[in-house]
Symmetry: C2
Subunit: 135 residues, 2 copies
């Protein structure tokens, strides 16, 4: 019932935390491979699942794309770029949003919610305006 900190596990966790980003399994695989060249992609998937199951990391399923894993585990919301799919934390006051409430929950036993804000990240904005100038 308690999780064993294998070398692979530790390295995956370390690289995710070091990145301070919301990485996909294969982005993390590429990073870890530089240190442990023999690691398997399956091991990365497996351990990300185990680590998030154990509440050590977070798992994000943002807008129908690849899963991303979060170095931070406290409840918080995210903003993502509709162009490059980068994900950032959204510093929003969860208390005040909770006050809003919902007036019809269709009889659901509510577990929680997820606020997903979409937009274009600064970098993609720059790239876009460059392109426009060319035309």
């Amino acid at each position: 019932m308690q999780l064993r900190m294998t070398n692979q596990r530790e390295m995956i966790l370390r690289e995710l935390r070091k990145s301070k980003q919301h990485l996909t399994a294969d982005e993390l695989y590429e990073k870890v491979k530089k240190i442990m060249p023999r690691i398997s992609l399956a091991t990365v998937y497996r351990n990300l699942e185990i680590l998030s199951e154990a509440g050590i990391i977070g798992k994000l399923e943002v807008s129908g794309r690849q899963k991303r894993f979060d170095y931070e585990v406290e409840e918080h919301d995210h903003i993502y770029c509709v162009v490059c799919h980068r994900v950032d934390n959204l510093e929003i006051d969860r208390e005040s949003i909770r006050e809003v409430g919902w007036n019809s929950d269709k009889g659901y036993a509510v577990h929680g919610y997820r606020l997903e804000v979409a937009g274009i990240c600064p970098e993609c904005q720059r790239k876009r305006s460059k392109k426009e100038k060319k035309q």
Copy 2:
């Protein structure tokens, strides 16, 4: 630039509207096949994409699962069941939630947001309590 209302297209749209549910492509495929037995699943996917692109139906990408299509196109939020993945509309006052705002958007040009509430639907609650009694 203008979309042709083929028989297949029309039937897909009609069945989605008739259902008043948030259906997946293959759920819709099964429904339409009863009326047009020769229709291809690819045609269903293709036309759902075209119809949502044209703003005639909505496309939902809820929590990393199959896409669902929405007979209603106006902006609204959803609640889904973590057990059976059923999706329902969530009647929440979007104006008041908008007032909350976010104090750090990391320089993003915000397009919009999506509020996804998770819980267990009435039916799954019933099934669960039945199971508990058995044990």
